[in-house]
Symmetry: C2
Subunit: 229 residues, 2 copies
Protein backbone atom coordinates (compact mmCIF):
# COMPACT_ATOMS: atom_id res chain seq x y z
CA UNK A 1 0.00 0.00 0.00
CA UNK A 2 2.16 2.87 -1.22
CA UNK A 3 -0.45 5.40 -0.13
CA UNK A 4 -0.39 4.28 3.44
CA UNK A 5 3.39 4.22 3.34
CA UNK A 6 3.43 7.73 2.02
CA UNK A 7 1.15 8.88 4.80
CA UNK A 8 3.25 7.14 7.37
CA UNK A 9 6.46 8.71 6.07
CA UNK A 10 4.85 12.10 5.99
CA UNK A 11 3.63 11.61 9.54
CA UNK A 12 7.12 10.64 10.74
CA UNK A 13 8.47 13.74 9.07
CA UNK A 14 5.89 16.00 10.69
CA UNK A 15 6.63 14.39 14.04
CA UNK A 16 10.34 15.08 13.59
CA UNK A 17 9.64 18.73 12.83
CA UNK A 18 7.37 18.95 15.87
CA UNK A 19 10.01 17.45 18.16
CA UNK A 20 12.74 19.71 16.76
CA UNK A 21 10.61 22.79 17.25
CA UNK A 22 9.81 21.81 20.83
CA UNK A 23 13.50 21.24 21.57
CA UNK A 24 14.39 24.57 20.00
CA UNK A 25 11.71 26.37 22.00
CA UNK A 26 12.81 24.72 25.22
CA UNK A 27 16.45 25.54 24.47
CA UNK A 28 15.55 29.19 23.99
CA UNK A 29 13.62 29.20 27.25
CA UNK A 30 16.57 27.63 29.09
CA UNK A 31 18.90 30.30 27.73
CA UNK A 32 16.48 33.04 28.74
CA UNK A 33 16.41 31.71 32.31
CA UNK A 34 20.22 31.51 32.42
CA UNK A 35 20.64 35.01 30.99
CA UNK A 36 18.03 36.58 33.22
CA UNK A 37 19.96 35.38 36.27
CA UNK A 38 23.28 36.34 34.69
CA UNK A 39 21.97 39.87 34.10
CA UNK A 40 21.31 40.13 37.84
CA UNK A 41 24.57 38.58 39.02
CA UNK A 42 26.69 40.64 36.60
CA UNK A 43 24.42 43.68 37.09
CA UNK A 44 23.88 44.13 33.34
CA UNK A 45 20.47 45.67 32.61
CA UNK A 46 21.09 45.41 28.84
CA UNK A 47 21.18 41.62 29.13
CA UNK A 48 17.89 41.67 31.04
CA UNK A 49 16.36 43.84 28.30
CA UNK A 50 17.64 41.37 25.77
CA UNK A 51 15.91 38.49 27.59
CA UNK A 52 12.65 40.43 27.68
CA UNK A 53 12.93 41.03 23.94
CA UNK A 54 13.47 37.34 23.23
CA UNK A 55 10.03 36.43 24.57
CA UNK A 56 8.58 37.14 21.13
CA UNK A 57 10.57 34.24 19.67
CA UNK A 58 9.11 31.90 22.25
CA UNK A 59 5.60 33.14 21.54
CA UNK A 60 6.11 32.71 17.81
CA UNK A 61 7.31 29.16 18.31
CA UNK A 62 4.30 28.38 20.48
CA UNK A 63 1.96 29.43 17.68
CA UNK A 64 3.97 27.46 15.10
CA UNK A 65 3.91 24.32 17.24
CA UNK A 66 0.19 24.67 17.94
CA UNK A 67 -0.52 25.02 14.24
CA UNK A 68 1.66 22.04 13.41
CA UNK A 69 -0.24 19.95 15.97
CA UNK A 70 -3.59 21.02 14.49
CA UNK A 71 -2.33 20.14 11.02
CA UNK A 72 -1.18 16.68 12.11
CA UNK A 73 -4.44 16.05 13.94
CA UNK A 74 -6.55 17.13 10.97
CA UNK A 75 -4.57 15.56 8.13
CA UNK A 76 -2.99 12.47 9.66
CA UNK A 77 -5.82 11.71 12.08
CA UNK A 78 -3.56 9.85 14.48
CA UNK A 79 -5.09 7.44 17.00
CA UNK A 80 -4.09 5.87 20.31
CA UNK A 81 -0.50 6.61 21.31
CA UNK A 82 0.19 8.98 18.44
CA UNK A 83 -2.89 10.99 19.27
CA UNK A 84 -1.90 11.25 22.91
CA UNK A 85 1.59 12.31 21.88
CA UNK A 86 0.26 15.26 19.88
CA UNK A 87 -2.19 16.20 22.63
CA UNK A 88 0.67 16.13 25.13
CA UNK A 89 2.78 18.33 22.86
CA UNK A 90 -0.08 20.87 22.90
CA UNK A 91 0.11 20.90 26.68
CA UNK A 92 3.88 20.93 26.97
CA UNK A 93 4.21 23.91 24.66
CA UNK A 94 2.27 25.89 27.24
CA UNK A 95 4.63 24.91 30.02
CA UNK A 96 7.57 26.11 27.96
CA UNK A 97 5.80 29.32 27.07
CA UNK A 98 5.25 30.01 30.79
CA UNK A 99 8.94 29.44 31.41
CA UNK A 100 9.64 32.15 28.86
CA UNK A 101 7.30 34.42 30.84
CA UNK A 102 9.15 33.50 34.02
CA UNK A 103 12.48 34.55 32.45
CA UNK A 104 10.90 37.86 31.44
CA UNK A 105 9.67 38.39 35.00
CA UNK A 106 13.11 37.64 36.39
CA UNK A 107 14.59 40.07 33.85
CA UNK A 108 12.18 42.81 34.93
CA UNK A 109 13.03 42.33 38.59
CA UNK A 110 16.70 42.18 37.74
CA UNK A 111 16.44 45.64 36.16
CA UNK A 112 14.78 46.95 39.33
CA UNK A 113 17.36 45.36 41.61
CA UNK A 114 20.33 46.63 39.62
CA UNK A 115 19.18 50.18 40.35
CA UNK A 116 19.63 49.58 44.08
CA UNK A 117 22.78 48.74 46.05
CA UNK A 118 23.69 45.07 46.00
CA UNK A 119 22.23 43.24 49.00
CA UNK A 120 24.66 40.34 48.93
CA UNK A 121 26.80 38.40 46.49
CA UNK A 122 24.45 36.08 44.68
CA UNK A 123 25.85 32.60 44.83
CA UNK A 124 22.84 30.35 45.25
CA UNK A 125 20.58 31.85 42.60
CA UNK A 126 22.89 30.89 39.69
CA UNK A 127 23.17 27.36 41.13
CA UNK A 128 19.40 27.18 41.33
CA UNK A 129 19.04 28.54 37.79
CA UNK A 130 21.47 25.89 36.56
CA UNK A 131 19.50 23.14 38.25
CA UNK A 132 16.26 24.48 36.80
CA UNK A 133 17.71 24.64 33.29
CA UNK A 134 19.02 21.10 33.62
CA UNK A 135 15.73 19.52 34.60
CA UNK A 136 13.86 21.49 31.96
CA UNK A 137 16.22 20.12 29.32
CA UNK A 138 15.89 16.60 30.69
CA UNK A 139 12.10 16.74 30.77
CA UNK A 140 12.00 17.74 27.09
CA UNK A 141 14.56 15.06 26.17
CA UNK A 142 12.38 12.55 28.02
CA UNK A 143 9.41 13.67 25.95
CA UNK A 144 10.95 13.61 22.48
CA UNK A 145 12.70 10.29 23.16
CA UNK A 146 9.75 8.75 25.03
CA UNK A 147 12.09 8.00 27.91
CA UNK A 148 10.18 7.35 31.15
CA UNK A 149 13.36 6.58 33.13
CA UNK A 150 14.70 10.06 32.42
CA UNK A 151 11.28 11.48 33.29
CA UNK A 152 11.40 9.68 36.63
CA UNK A 153 14.82 11.14 37.28
CA UNK A 154 13.46 14.64 36.64
CA UNK A 155 10.66 14.10 39.13
CA UNK A 156 12.90 12.64 41.78
CA UNK A 157 15.37 15.53 41.37
CA UNK A 158 12.79 18.27 41.68
CA UNK A 159 13.43 18.32 45.44
CA UNK A 160 16.94 19.76 44.78
CA UNK A 161 15.38 22.94 43.45
CA UNK A 162 12.83 23.04 46.26
CA UNK A 163 15.61 22.67 48.82
CA UNK A 164 17.64 25.43 47.20
CA UNK A 165 14.61 27.69 47.30
CA UNK A 166 14.10 26.95 50.98
CA UNK A 167 17.75 27.74 51.72
CA UNK A 168 17.65 31.02 49.76
CA UNK A 169 14.39 32.01 51.42
CA UNK A 170 15.74 31.43 54.92
CA UNK A 171 18.94 33.31 54.23
CA UNK A 172 17.10 36.31 52.81
CA UNK A 173 14.75 36.28 55.78
CA UNK A 174 17.75 36.87 58.08
CA UNK A 175 18.73 39.92 56.01
CA UNK A 176 15.24 41.29 56.40
CA UNK A 177 15.19 40.70 60.15
CA UNK A 178 18.54 42.43 60.57
CA UNK A 179 17.83 45.50 58.50
CA UNK A 180 14.47 46.88 57.40
CA UNK A 181 16.22 48.63 54.50
CA UNK A 182 16.95 45.18 53.08
CA UNK A 183 13.28 44.12 53.02
CA UNK A 184 12.26 45.39 49.63
CA UNK A 185 15.33 43.98 47.85
CA UNK A 186 15.16 40.69 49.73
CA UNK A 187 11.53 40.21 48.72
CA UNK A 188 12.46 40.75 45.09
CA UNK A 189 15.17 38.13 45.38
CA UNK A 190 12.74 35.74 47.06
CA UNK A 191 10.34 36.22 44.15
CA UNK A 192 13.15 35.42 41.71
CA UNK A 193 13.95 32.23 43.61
CA UNK A 194 10.25 31.41 43.58
CA UNK A 195 10.21 31.88 39.81
CA UNK A 196 13.09 29.42 39.45
CA UNK A 197 11.25 26.97 41.66
CA UNK A 198 8.33 27.19 39.25
CA UNK A 199 10.61 26.27 36.34
CA UNK A 200 11.29 23.09 38.29
CA UNK A 201 7.55 22.55 38.81
CA UNK A 202 6.86 22.96 35.09
CA UNK A 203 9.63 20.49 34.27
CA UNK A 204 8.32 17.94 36.76
CA UNK A 205 4.89 18.45 35.27
CA UNK A 206 6.22 17.73 31.78
CA UNK A 207 7.99 14.64 33.12
CA UNK A 208 4.75 13.37 34.67
CA UNK A 209 2.99 13.74 31.33
CA UNK A 210 5.78 11.73 29.67
CA UNK A 211 5.35 8.87 32.12
CA UNK A 212 1.61 8.93 31.56
CA UNK A 213 2.13 8.96 27.82
CA UNK A 214 4.55 6.05 27.73
CA UNK A 215 3.22 3.86 30.52
CA UNK A 216 -0.40 4.96 30.61
CA UNK A 217 0.18 5.39 34.30
CA UNK A 218 -1.24 8.61 35.63
CA UNK A 219 1.09 10.09 38.19
CA UNK A 220 0.38 13.61 37.05
CA UNK A 221 -0.90 14.55 40.43
CA UNK A 222 1.98 13.37 42.52
CA UNK A 223 3.71 16.69 41.99
CA UNK A 224 1.86 19.82 42.77
CA UNK A 225 2.82 23.31 41.75
CA UNK A 226 4.48 25.65 44.13
CA UNK A 227 4.62 23.58 47.25
CA UNK A 228 7.41 25.62 48.78
CA UNK A 229 6.82 28.21 51.44
CA UNK B 1 -27.35 10.70 5.08
CA UNK B 2 -28.57 9.20 8.33
CA UNK B 3 -25.09 8.02 9.23
CA UNK B 4 -23.60 11.47 9.03
CA UNK B 5 -26.51 12.82 11.01
CA UNK B 6 -25.97 10.21 13.67
CA UNK B 7 -22.29 11.14 13.92
CA UNK B 8 -23.11 14.79 14.12
CA UNK B 9 -25.66 14.24 16.86
CA UNK B 10 -23.22 12.10 18.77
CA UNK B 11 -20.57 14.78 18.38
CA UNK B 12 -22.90 17.47 19.69
CA UNK B 13 -23.68 15.27 22.67
CA UNK B 14 -20.00 14.66 23.41
CA UNK B 15 -19.35 18.38 23.12
CA UNK B 16 -22.14 19.10 25.62
CA UNK B 17 -20.65 16.62 28.09
CA UNK B 18 -17.21 18.18 27.61
CA UNK B 19 -18.51 21.69 28.25
CA UNK B 20 -20.47 20.58 31.31
CA UNK B 21 -17.45 18.84 32.78
CA UNK B 22 -15.28 21.92 32.20
CA UNK B 23 -17.86 24.14 33.87
CA UNK B 24 -18.13 21.73 36.80
CA UNK B 25 -14.36 21.60 37.19
CA UNK B 26 -14.08 25.37 37.04
CA UNK B 27 -16.90 25.75 39.54
CA UNK B 28 -15.12 23.43 41.96
CA UNK B 29 -11.88 25.39 41.51
CA UNK B 30 -13.71 28.67 42.18
CA UNK B 31 -15.18 27.26 45.38
CA UNK B 32 -11.79 26.00 46.49
CA UNK B 33 -10.30 29.48 46.03
CA UNK B 34 -13.18 31.07 47.97
CA UNK B 35 -12.97 28.54 50.80
CA UNK B 36 -9.19 28.71 51.07
CA UNK B 37 -9.43 32.45 51.70
CA UNK B 38 -12.43 31.98 53.99
CA UNK B 39 -10.44 29.48 56.07
CA UNK B 40 -7.83 32.18 56.63
CA UNK B 41 -10.22 35.02 57.34
CA UNK B 42 -12.35 32.94 59.73
CA UNK B 43 -9.24 31.17 61.06
CA UNK B 44 -10.70 27.71 60.44
CA UNK B 45 -7.96 25.17 59.72
CA UNK B 46 -10.55 22.43 59.14
CA UNK B 47 -11.89 24.34 56.14
CA UNK B 48 -8.36 24.66 54.76
CA UNK B 49 -7.87 20.90 55.18
CA UNK B 50 -11.15 20.38 53.39
CA UNK B 51 -9.95 22.48 50.43
CA UNK B 52 -6.71 20.49 50.26
CA UNK B 53 -8.72 17.26 50.19
CA UNK B 54 -10.90 18.50 47.36
CA UNK B 55 -7.93 18.71 44.98
CA UNK B 56 -8.45 15.03 44.14
CA UNK B 57 -11.82 15.85 42.58
CA UNK B 58 -10.19 18.43 40.34
CA UNK B 59 -7.48 16.01 39.32
CA UNK B 60 -10.04 13.31 38.55
CA UNK B 61 -12.01 15.73 36.40
CA UNK B 62 -8.87 16.72 34.52
CA UNK B 63 -8.23 13.09 33.58
CA UNK B 64 -11.87 12.58 32.58
CA UNK B 65 -11.83 15.67 30.39
CA UNK B 66 -8.53 14.71 28.78
CA UNK B 67 -9.88 11.25 27.99
CA UNK B 68 -13.07 12.70 26.59
CA UNK B 69 -11.04 14.98 24.33
CA UNK B 70 -8.92 12.05 23.10
CA UNK B 71 -12.08 10.07 22.42
CA UNK B 72 -13.65 12.89 20.42
CA UNK B 73 -10.44 13.45 18.46
CA UNK B 74 -10.05 9.75 17.66
CA UNK B 75 -13.66 8.84 16.91
CA UNK B 76 -15.18 12.02 15.52
CA UNK B 77 -12.01 13.29 13.82
CA UNK B 78 -13.13 16.91 13.95
CA UNK B 79 -11.52 19.45 11.63
CA UNK B 80 -11.07 23.22 11.51
CA UNK B 81 -12.97 25.07 14.25
CA UNK B 82 -14.14 21.93 16.01
CA UNK B 83 -10.62 20.58 16.17
CA UNK B 84 -9.31 23.83 17.59
CA UNK B 85 -12.11 23.83 20.16
CA UNK B 86 -11.08 20.41 21.47
CA UNK B 87 -7.38 21.35 21.44
CA UNK B 88 -8.22 24.50 23.40
CA UNK B 89 -10.20 22.45 25.93
CA UNK B 90 -7.07 20.33 26.46
CA UNK B 91 -5.15 23.48 27.30
CA UNK B 92 -7.83 25.11 29.43
CA UNK B 93 -8.21 22.04 31.60
CA UNK B 94 -4.60 22.56 32.66
CA UNK B 95 -5.22 26.16 33.65
CA UNK B 96 -8.12 25.05 35.84
CA UNK B 97 -6.07 22.26 37.35
CA UNK B 98 -3.38 24.80 38.30
CA UNK B 99 -6.03 26.93 39.95
CA UNK B 100 -6.93 23.92 42.08
CA UNK B 101 -3.24 23.69 43.03
CA UNK B 102 -3.25 27.38 43.88
CA UNK B 103 -6.21 26.88 46.25
CA UNK B 104 -4.32 24.02 47.92
CA UNK B 105 -1.27 26.23 48.35
CA UNK B 106 -3.38 29.00 49.86
CA UNK B 107 -4.97 26.42 52.17
CA UNK B 108 -1.53 25.21 53.31
CA UNK B 109 -0.37 28.72 54.05
CA UNK B 110 -3.64 29.48 55.77
CA UNK B 111 -3.01 26.59 58.17
CA UNK B 112 0.46 27.98 58.94
CA UNK B 113 -0.85 31.50 59.46
CA UNK B 114 -3.68 30.43 61.75
CA UNK B 115 -1.10 29.06 64.17
CA UNK B 116 0.37 32.54 64.61
CA UNK B 117 -1.26 35.70 66.01
CA UNK B 118 -3.36 37.61 63.50
CA UNK B 119 -1.31 40.30 61.75
CA UNK B 120 -4.27 42.40 60.67
CA UNK B 121 -7.91 42.07 59.81
CA UNK B 122 -8.00 40.71 56.29
CA UNK B 123 -10.28 42.88 54.22
CA UNK B 124 -8.63 43.08 50.83
CA UNK B 125 -7.80 39.40 50.32
CA UNK B 126 -11.47 38.31 50.26
CA UNK B 127 -12.23 41.12 47.80
CA UNK B 128 -9.35 39.96 45.63
CA UNK B 129 -10.50 36.33 45.90
CA UNK B 130 -13.97 37.39 44.82
CA UNK B 131 -12.62 39.24 41.81
CA UNK B 132 -10.46 36.24 40.87
CA UNK B 133 -13.41 33.85 41.13
CA UNK B 134 -15.53 36.14 39.02
CA UNK B 135 -13.12 36.41 36.12
CA UNK B 136 -12.41 32.68 36.22
CA UNK B 137 -16.13 32.00 35.89
CA UNK B 138 -16.46 34.53 33.09
CA UNK B 139 -13.53 33.11 31.16
CA UNK B 140 -15.08 29.63 31.23
CA UNK B 141 -18.48 31.00 30.25
CA UNK B 142 -16.79 32.80 27.37
CA UNK B 143 -15.25 29.49 26.27
CA UNK B 144 -18.31 27.25 26.43
CA UNK B 145 -20.51 29.90 24.80
CA UNK B 146 -17.86 31.01 22.28
CA UNK B 147 -18.34 34.57 23.47
CA UNK B 148 -15.39 36.79 22.51
CA UNK B 149 -17.01 39.93 23.97
CA UNK B 150 -17.09 38.34 27.42
CA UNK B 151 -13.50 37.16 26.89
CA UNK B 152 -12.46 40.73 26.09
CA UNK B 153 -14.14 41.91 29.27
CA UNK B 154 -12.15 39.35 31.28
CA UNK B 155 -8.89 40.57 29.77
CA UNK B 156 -9.68 44.23 30.29
CA UNK B 157 -10.68 43.56 33.92
CA UNK B 158 -7.55 41.64 34.83
CA UNK B 159 -5.98 44.93 35.94
CA UNK B 160 -8.43 45.09 38.86
CA UNK B 161 -6.78 42.03 40.38
CA UNK B 162 -3.30 43.33 39.61
CA UNK B 163 -4.14 46.63 41.30
CA UNK B 164 -5.53 44.85 44.36
CA UNK B 165 -2.34 42.82 44.58
CA UNK B 166 -0.23 45.97 44.39
CA UNK B 167 -2.28 47.58 47.15
CA UNK B 168 -2.03 44.52 49.43
CA UNK B 169 1.68 44.22 48.77
CA UNK B 170 2.35 47.84 49.68
CA UNK B 171 0.28 47.67 52.82
CA UNK B 172 2.01 44.51 54.02
CA UNK B 173 5.37 46.09 53.29
CA UNK B 174 4.59 48.84 55.81
CA UNK B 175 3.87 46.18 58.46
CA UNK B 176 7.24 44.61 57.78
CA UNK B 177 9.07 47.91 57.96
CA UNK B 178 7.41 48.77 61.28
CA UNK B 179 7.98 45.47 63.02
CA UNK B 180 10.43 42.69 62.11
CA UNK B 181 8.18 40.20 63.93
CA UNK B 182 5.58 40.83 61.24
CA UNK B 183 7.92 39.88 58.38
CA UNK B 184 7.33 36.15 58.23
CA UNK B 185 3.52 36.46 58.40
CA UNK B 186 3.44 39.37 55.97
CA UNK B 187 5.45 37.38 53.42
CA UNK B 188 2.98 34.52 53.69
CA UNK B 189 0.11 36.92 53.07
CA UNK B 190 1.97 38.43 50.11
CA UNK B 191 2.36 34.95 48.65
CA UNK B 192 -1.36 34.34 49.07
CA UNK B 193 -2.13 37.59 47.25
CA UNK B 194 0.34 36.53 44.55
CA UNK B 195 -1.53 33.24 44.21
CA UNK B 196 -4.80 35.08 43.70
CA UNK B 197 -3.12 37.27 41.10
CA UNK B 198 -2.16 34.11 39.25
CA UNK B 199 -5.80 32.98 39.20
CA UNK B 200 -6.44 36.23 37.33
CA UNK B 201 -3.56 35.48 34.95
CA UNK B 202 -4.91 32.00 34.22
CA UNK B 203 -8.36 33.44 33.55
CA UNK B 204 -6.98 36.09 31.21
CA UNK B 205 -5.02 33.36 29.48
CA UNK B 206 -8.18 31.31 28.97
CA UNK B 207 -9.94 34.41 27.66
CA UNK B 208 -7.15 35.02 25.14
CA UNK B 209 -7.50 31.48 23.86
CA UNK B 210 -11.25 32.03 23.43
CA UNK B 211 -10.67 35.12 21.31
CA UNK B 212 -8.14 33.24 19.20
CA UNK B 213 -10.55 30.36 18.83
CA UNK B 214 -13.52 32.45 17.75
CA UNK B 215 -11.82 35.19 15.76
CA UNK B 216 -8.63 33.43 14.71
CA UNK B 217 -6.90 36.50 16.06
CA UNK B 218 -3.91 35.65 18.16
CA UNK B 219 -3.72 37.99 21.11
CA UNK B 220 -2.44 35.28 23.39
CA UNK B 221 0.68 37.17 24.08
CA UNK B 222 -0.81 40.45 25.07
CA UNK B 223 -1.13 39.26 28.63
CA UNK B 224 1.86 37.82 30.34
CA UNK B 225 1.90 35.82 33.53
CA UNK B 226 2.83 37.36 36.80
CA UNK B 227 3.65 40.84 35.75
CA UNK B 228 3.10 42.30 39.22
CA UNK B 229 5.92 43.10 41.55
Amino acid sequence: MPDREHTSKHYEQQLRILKDKLLLMSHKAEEMIADSIRSLVDRRPSLAEDVIGRDDEIDKLEIEIDNLCYQVLALEQPVAGDLRFIATALKIVKDIERIGDIAVNIGERSIELIQEPELKRLVDLPIMANAAQKILKESLDAFVNSDPELAEKVISNDYIIDDLYEQIFRELLTYMLEDPRAISRAIKLIFIAKHLERVGDHSANIAEMVIFLVRGQDIRHGTRFDRGR
